[in-house]
């Protein structure tokens, strides 16, 4: 197919500028970046229609090749309208963010930042030393002594955290009572 350099370059510039703006913190600029990127994509789709042609209105005696390919045009038409809906939605988001937080910026994700600062992946569930058990019935009463049979595993305080299920809590309490 024939390559149209002007369209190609404009598309490249739209993408480049769009990405530059997309990586900004200001939400307005991010939105403008998205609009520019969608412009670039529209031009990309337009290029796939090939060289300029007749407007796609059926006329007698015209070959199918002479029209500008209608398929990409249909795609573009829907893309344009969808982009409008997207822009409206993002504008509403920006307004909301401004009303609620007086902020029109992309804020840092505090949760991720905490994860990033955590060192290592020590997980008591996986990594704590646990001695093996010598019976399945350690939670039950011993008929000879009338006392609870206990496991040799005594939970360390740091393991006694949220990742232990309620059942385990109960078991530990039982052990503790003894």
């Amino acid at each position: 197919m024939t390559l149209n350099l002007t369209l190609l370059v404009v598309m490249g510039v739209m993408m480049a500028v769009g990405i530059y703006l997309l990586l900004e913190r200001s939400l307005t600029r991010v939105l403008l970046g998205i609009i520019l990127i969608s412009n670039g994509v529209n031009l990309l789709i337009l290029q796939s229609a090939g060289r300029a042609g007749e407007s796609p209105l059926v006329r007698d005696g015209m070959d199918a090749e002479e029209y500008l390919d209608p398929m990409p045009q249909a795609l573009l038409l829907t893309a344009i309208v969808i982009a409008f809906a997207l822009v409206s939605f993002m504008l509403a988001l920006i307004y909301r963010s401004w009303v609620l937080a007086r902020q029109d910026e992309v804020a840092d994700d505090e949760e991720d930042r905490r994860v990033a600062e955590a060192v290592g992946a020590y997980d008591p569930e996986e990594d704590a030393e646990v001695s093996t058990e010598t019976s399945e019935f350690i939670d039950e009463l011993d008929p000879n002594t009338g006392k609870l049979r206990t496991s040799e595993y005594v939970p360390e305080p740091e393991q006694d955290t949220a990742d232990e299920g309620p059942a385990s809590k109960q078991a530990e309490q039982k052990e503790g009572r003894k």
Binding site: V10, M15, T28, I35, Q73, R96, E126
Partner: protein, 1010 residues
């Protein structure tokens, strides 16, 4: 077979419900069902034994098979086949399964409520295991294989409140799934190489399957078998899995599941035992496992762990003999498989009873049980002696033929390998068997003997909580009894597994096939057996009664510690990578993503051959270059613009330029639509952002400008190259060459683009307008917190000049008062009302010229939009363009007359408009169905109206009406949210802040309102 499997799985699904009704006796029912499955399996014996084992399904003498199509495109079938090997394993699985279920009926306390799901899992495990051995399709085999893995995970984690159980379950899952994944690759590979996923066909074609690919595929399959059957270096998961309730250990981790790996090896051995890596892997790892397991069994103080390591050892043994690939070894392997299932399940059940009754399995505590519990002792002695290979028990019979086959393998070495290896294996097996004798003795001693402590004082006899009743003892007793019975009458087993052995060649032509018997005469093999007994008992006497804690294995050799270190490292790397790539700044995440999206295609472009387009033009016409310059300067201007609205204008400039390019290229519909959209977007932008400060400032200025600029440029370049290459690679004619005649003949319209939207690709458009409605609802829900389309005051109730009067006169400076007065003098209420609600605006916000113009052109615009809608089928226009134009008319009304004007202009809720639009579109889709057509099929109605003349109405125009309504609804919704509602809010805000003395927002709001 399919029916039986389906019934079994259905029963397992119903089990929790049955359990909630019947309680613990449910296990009797489950045992009975598995017993029925056992009998069902027996019914296949005549057909299976007569059949030729290697025959492909479909031949007259093939074993019974059932085949249903499942995914014919991929060659995947629901194929099941009952041959001799499957039959033997089915008997083992259903028989031991029934025994285990019976045992469960006493093992769990009567009131145990958590046992319902447990029973279901255990039962469905039996079904999955049967499915696994019956599958004749590689994909089915894999599915059942993984099903057993998952059920094993659930069953090990039965005591979910214990860390140890949870960890063991996860560990078993990870290790066996790792092998399972490798196996999947191997299975698919071998299936592709053979051109069939039917196992029997692959085995029939095995002779033609040679080469490196087959060798590697076999290694991958063996990896699955090795991990499942807990061979070194994956053996550690099996002892840890002893955290499961003992019935599970007896069934899954002794008799059935761990045999799946052995089964797989036995299944593939007839065709592939001569593949390059088969024997080194099977014999090497098998021998290592056998010795490591047996040695460590001797060092355990928990009797269940003695058995567990013993199982590991025996699995290595089984793997070796089943993988050897000679006729004798196949017979021996199958016999040993059955023997092990019988004695090991019985022994585990004994351990369960001891644990159940005494509350410990520690052999340093247990003492004197043998004296008190005679029946238990008898069962255990029989089973343990069978494990040690003592006559007259089936374990002995099986071990004899195993020795026999290794002996003749050593005597008749293959040409390709050194004869030394045969003897190495023989010696290793003898040593490991001696160790087996020793740990069998240690088990009996540990569980039953009266012991003394370190000072020589007798330990107190361990008391049983109660006496195990007959039901509890029945299962181990029956299994132990079978061990004796099958040894005395080995004929049936011989008959059962002999057909499988005939699939193999004898190790050398002159060797006669061996047979199962208690007495083969004075043979060298008998001598070896006697040697193992002597060595084993001596070893037990010297080392077997050690009660000290097992010495720690060096860290480098401890597979479990290595596994945990590996997992730990994996976690650490994951956290490290996450902390580097996801450090909290969303912009940085995007940067990373885009960097990859740039670098990956760039690499491909750089390192592979490309087709660049042959024909390149600079531009279609000079005008295109001018427009291009405008667009580019708009884009750069958006980056540079310091003020929000300036930046927005710059982006709009790009849009208008692109509309021009569309027009020049020959796409009038696009140009029209884009122009309308750009106009509306500009207004919406201004409306939404008017309460924000005008400058784009930020508290944290974005750093890293150069990096971003470089990334943007690189991405632009890459996508340019990619586009050029894509254009150069295009070889096919566009499908749209058919569109012109389709549009005209089928769609009855001349505008091809419009017909494409409303007819040829109507489903796309239907989806799109749904998205539009969703987006509009999203906008409204972000602005209206409670509900949208709030019915405001009636127009006549609104005081004149009240809307937009943001400040009381007192708050203004003298200069401002003068300005406002001048403005008001032009907009007195006394003038003629051009707009219905014009008077409601504060006088300083009115523009009479704007009102007049709006008044003059509003109706014309709406009419034009209807024209675009109706004419769009044949000329540029259509529902989208028409709807946008109508929306623009409402935008005018709103801007000229304020929010009450908008309400007066369109007294419907936006939601209703969009709903009706969707309903109309849907209606056009459904209507043809009623008349027997396809959804959205177009039809034409000819109307002859007296004055207007003859008209053709195409049904798809009605669809366009739906589109029109949705688009109008969208714009009205956006106007009401971002326009009216923000008006109301900022007025309230201003009133509040002006009383508090703040003026910032008042200024921004006033500036925009004009």
């Amino acid at each position: 077979m399919v029916v039986v499997l389906a019934v079994l799985f259905s029963v397992s699904i119903a089990t929790p419900w049955i359990f909630s009704r019947l309680g613990r006796p449910t296990f009797y029912l489950l045992a009975a069902i598995l017993m029925a499955a056992f009998v069902w399996t027996l019914s296949y014996i005549p057909a299976v034994l007569e059949a030729e084992q290697g025959a492909a399904s479909g031949q007259p003498n093939a074993p019974p098979a059932e085949i249903f199509e499942w995914i014919p495109q991929l060659g995947v079938e629901l194929a099941f086949r009952m041959d001799a090997l499957a039959l033997a394993l089915c008997l083992l699985i259903s028989g031991v399964g029934a025994a285990v279920m019976l045992y469960c009926a006493r093992y769990f306390p009567p009131a145990e409520t958590a046992a319902g799901p447990f029973a279901a899992q255990l039962f469905s495990f039996a079904a999955a295991m049967l499915g696994l051995v019956l599958s004749d399709d590689l994909v089915m085999l894999f599915i059942f294989w993984e099903l057993t893995t998952i059920l094993s995970f659930l069953l090990i984690g039965y005591s979910a409140h214990r860390v140890f159980a949870r960890r063991s379950a996860i560990q078993a899952l990870i290790v066996t799934t790792l092998g399972g994944l490798a196996m999947l690759v191997g299975l698919l590979w071998i299936g592709q190489l053979a051109g069939s996923y039917r196992i029997s066909e692959i085995m029939a074609a095995a002779d033609t399957l040679t080469g490196v690919a087959v060798d590697i595929a076999m290694v991958l399959i063996l990896l699955g078998a090795i991990s499942k059957s807990a061979l070194v270096p994956f053996h550690f998961w099996l002892p840890a899995a002893m955290a499961a309730p003992t019935p599970v250990s007896a069934y899954l981790h002794a008799a059935a599941m761990v045999k799946a790996g052995v089964y797989l090896v036995a299944r593939f051995a007839p065709g592939f035992h001569d593949s390059t890596f088969w024997l080194p892997l099977v014999l090497g790892l098998g021998l290592a496992t056998m010795i490591v397991g047996a040695y460590r069994a001797l060092r355990q103080t928990d009797i269940k762990l003695v058995l567990a390591y013993g199982t590991v050892s025996q699995l290595g043994f089984l793997m070796m003999v089943n993988g050897l690939g000679t006729e004798d070894a196949a017979l021996a392997g199958a016999a040993m498989l059955l023997a092990h299932g019988l004695f090991k399940a019985a022994l585990f059940m004994v351990v369960g009873i001891i644990d159940h009754e005494t509350g410990t399995r520690d052999l340093r505590v247990l003492s004197g049980i043998g004296r008190a519990q005679k029946p238990l002792l008898v069962i255990s002695v029989i089973a343990a002696a069978s494990m040690a290979g003592l006559p007259p028990l089936f374990g002995f019979v099986a071990k004899e033929v195993v020795f026999e086959s290794f002996y003749s393998y050593a005597l008749h070495p293959a040409d390709t390998v050194s004869p030394v290896w045969g003897w190495v294996v023989m010696v290793g097996v003898v040593i490991a068997s001696a160790l087996t004798v020793a740990y069998s003795a240690r088990f009996l001693w540990g569980a039953f003997a009266a012991k003394t402590d370190d000072d020589g004082a007798a330990l107190p006899a361990t008391a049983f909580r109660g006496t195990p009743d007959a039901v509890f003892l029945a299962s181990p007793a029956v299994l132990a009894g079978l061990t004796v019975l099958l040894a005395l009458v080995p004929g049936p087993v011989q008959a059962l597994i002999e057909p499988f052995a005939t699939l193999f060649d004898p190790v050398a032509p002159e060797v006669h096939p061996t047979y199962l018997a208690l007495w083969h005469g004075f043979t060298p093999v008998l001598g070896l057996s006697v040697l193992t007994w002597a060595l084993g008992l001596g070893l037990f006497w010297l080392r077997g009664r050690v009660t000290s804690e097992a010495r720690a294995v060096p860290a480098a050799l401890d597979a479990e510690r290595m596994y945990r270190a590996t997992i730990r490292t994996l976690d650490d790397v994951a956290v490290w990578l996450t902390s580097k790539t996801q450090r909290g700044s969303l912009g940085w995440y995007l940067f990373i993503i885009l960097l990859v999206a740039t670098a990956a295609p760039a690499g491909v472009i750089a390192f592979s051959g490309q087709v660049w387009p042959g024909e390149v033009i600079v531009a279609e016409q000079p005008m295109q270059i001018v427009l291009a310059l405008i667009i580019i300067s708009g884009g750069l201007g958006a980056v540079w613009a310091p003020k929000r609205f300036m930046a927005v204008l710059m982006v709009s400039l790009c849009g208008w330029g692109i509309a021009g390019i569309f027009a020049l290229q020959g796409a009038p519909d696009l140009a029209l639509t884009l122009l309308l959209v750009e106009s509306i977007v500009l207004v919406v932008f201004v409306l939404a952002l008017r309460s924000l400060p005008s400058g784009i400032w930020t508290q944290n200025p974005t750093r890293f400008r150069v990096g971003r600029a470089l990334l943007g440029a690189a991405f632009g370049l890459v996508i340019m190259c990619a586009t050029a290459i894509a254009m150069g690679s295009r070889i096919h004619e566009p499908i749209s060459l058919e569109y012109p005649w389709m549009a005209y003949e089928v769609g009855h319209g001349r505008n091809i683009v419009n017909v494409t939207l409303v007819d040829i690709r109507v489903w796309d458009t239907f989806g799109e307008i749904t998205v539009l409605a969703a987006a509009a609802t999203g906008v409204a829900s972000l602005i209206f917190v409670k509900r949208r389309d709030v019915q405001r005051r009636q127009l006549h109730e609104v005081p004149t000049g009240s809307v937009g009067r943001v400040l009381s006169d007192k708050a203004l400076s003298p200069n401002q008062i003068k300005e406002v007065e001048v403005a008001r003098s032009f907009a007195t209420v006394a003038r003629e009302a051009w707009l219905v609600a014009g008077r409601t605006l504060a006088p300083e916000h009115r523009s009479i010229i704007f009102e007049v113009v709006t008044r003059l052109i509003f109706h014309a615009i709406v009419l034009l939009s209807v024209y675009l809608l109706l004419a769009g089928h044949n000329t540029p226009g259509g529902g989208f363009a028409g709807g946008l134009l109508a929306g623009l008319a409402f935008v005018l009304r709103y801007l000229a007359g304020g929010r009450y004007e908008l309400e007066a202009a369109i007294p419907f809720s936006a939601g209703a408009l969009m709903g009706w639009g969707l309903a109309v579109a849907c209606f056009t889709g459904v209507l043809p169905l009623i008349f027997g057509g396809q959804a959205f099929q177009s039809f034409i109605v000819d109307l002859a109206i007296p004055v207007i003349g003859e008209h053709h109405l195409v049904s798809s125009v009605l669809f366009d009406v739906g589109v029109y309504l949705v688009v109008v609804g969208l714009i009205v919704d956006v106007l009401r949210s971002l326009g009216s509602e923000i008006d109301v809010r900022s007025e309230q805000e201003n009133r509040r802040s002006s009383t508090l003395g703040h003026g910032i927002h008042a200024e921004t709001s006033m500036g925009v309102a004009r």
